[in-house]
Symmetry: C2
Subunit: 324 residues, 2 copies
């Protein structure tokens, strides 16, 4: 009782969450901690890289318009880059910038040998084609992995830049030592930069240049009937959800011991009228049955930034290798 | 009884098959007939195209080495092209041709404005990189859909050349009026030119530039445990198998009324010691439960050639459109 009272006096959400989880048998996948480990590893690699006489890796973000969420995302990415030892800069363009002006800017960066990674923060304004902009980035500098060539390389498991969130999900599964070979995976959501790349990486052959993970993968989406979704998830060893639907995954849909990766980021109001960020999973209830589970926030979110740094260092190394 | 005796006197395999099927309630998907319908439609389209003053579409095959199966496949494709009104030619190169010599030949065809479609018959000899050769073909002339850019376009549902066998499977499902929206599909086999493109087309959104088919898709493969495969197939409305495993799909694995598309081509010996071509499905037994089923031969096989003709006409039209 004394311990409990003490805990109540320091009401840290994560503390409370961990306490609940350990009593329930679920193992929290602490994305924040894992992302910090990865960033530490990358920092060490960057030091080693520079000790070999190479310049500091360099990441440039292009931010078009004043979308507050985009501004925040870019700020977080650039801060992480700086902290890790990557030269970073944000090119801010007004909302009125034309597509060809953006593409001109990208071409300038493509040709700039001091730049390793280029990212265009999405969404771009409506008058700009997202696809044209993504395809304008040199595939070798495409640290977001959105260029059509890199999507093709991913589809046939050639070495490529895997979109950072998808790569983050895979890394969480790997570092949590959750087996995938011959296991049933359900991916909820088929977006081209999250659900699809995850499905492509998880179902494919481990012997490929970009190794797959040999799982049996089911891709579910808006047209999967709820009762069918439930059938699939109940047999799944791993459930990955990236739908933006609050409480899509409930406890009675989860096989005991399954690993749950929640990519959803949903802004809701609590009963007390307070804003709160939640995922797609009914977290408290699912913890009772899951073997591993990611919290939201603090799960997949921090991994996206870490894997972007991973891709940037990779771009820097590839550029030197290709020059040789 | 008299009718039965009469039937015995004209022992046509297809006749016998159809008779069995109609008594069992399964509807045979006659790929040969459907492919002939498609080829007839393409012939009409080619006539209309030429009536507008355009030249005849032109397809060139590159055949390296003396592989008898490859020779036969190329022969069939070129014959179909000729029959349909497509100019066709096979460039035969010796087995000793180097990769760069093959790529030089491809480049010449890329630049030849009288050529619409180029296909390199696979497999190429071991000393040649299949990937380099596929990527050397101008994506606009890549009627096999194997270029990395076209794989990327397929992955994100942009208009592209879909690999012919995958396109043939989709067309068989469409023309048999088998619904896909929200239905469970199992794809057995994850090859990059058959299983994967089929899965990409079937799971994705119908509102895309290259429309998807809105099914819930499970990709199974060598590491899917047999008992799990069976669980998935039993719940499937459509099963597509492209594994090369004889009798992989048995009657007790199939939901009554399901649609079965058999891409397998396996050479076996009958009990009487005669060679026979069969698919991946235990055809006779599965007919008892399936709603629709493709035979082997005469199912998917003929569709591959028809859809290659479709892609060649499409290439011809695109080339003119891109010149305008």
């Amino acid at each position: 009782m004394i311990i409990f009272k003490h805990a109540m006096k320091i009401p840290s959400a994560l503390y409370q969450m961990k306490r609940n989880l350990s009593s329930k048998g679920s193992k929290l996948i602490d994305g924040k901690k894992i992302s910090q480990e990865i960033q530490k590893e990358i920092r060490v690699e960057i030091d080693a890289w520079m000790n070999k006489g190479h310049r500091r890796p360099c990441l440039i973000a292009i931010l078009v318009g004043e979308n507050p969420a985009s501004q925040k995302y870019v700020h977080n990415k650039m801060k992480a880059a700086k902290d890790i030892g990557i030269t970073s800069k944000t090119i801010k363009l007004p909302n009125t910038t034309t597509e060809s002006e953006i593409i001109e800017e990208i071409k300038r960066l493509n040709e700039d040998s001091s730049v390793d990674g280029i990212l265009v923060q999405l969404p771009v304004p409506e008058h700009v084609s997202e696809r044209n902009v993504c395809n304008a980035v040199d595939p070798h500098k495409d640290v977001d992995g959105f260029h059509i060539t890199n999507m093709g390389r991913l589809a046939i498991n050639l070495d490529t830049f895997v979109p950072a969130t998808a790569l983050g999900v895979i890394e969480l599964i790997k570092r949590s030592q959750v087996p995938t070979l011959g296991k049933n995976v359900v991916v909820c959501g088929r977006s081209k930069n999250v659900g699809l790349p995850i499905a492509l990486l998880l179902h494919s052959d481990a012997r490929n240049e970009c190794p797959g993970h040999e799982a049996t993968v089911t891709i579910c989406h808006r047209h999967t009937p709820p009762e069918e979704l439930s059938c699939f998830t109940k047999r799944a060893d791993i459930i990955i959800t990236a739908t933006g639907i609050v409480n899509l995954i409930k406890a009675d849909m989860v096989k005991p011991g399954a690993c749950i990766i929640d990519v959803g980021i949903n802004r809701i109001m609590t009963e007390e009228g307070k804003p709160k960020i939640v995922g797609d999973v009914d977290f408290e209830a699912v913890c009772e049955v899951a073997g591993h589970i990611t919290p939201v926030p603090g799960g997949v979110g921090p991994m996206t930034v870490a894997m972007l740094m991973f891709n940037t260092l990779k771009a820097a190394k590839n550029l030197v290798k290709n020059q040789q």
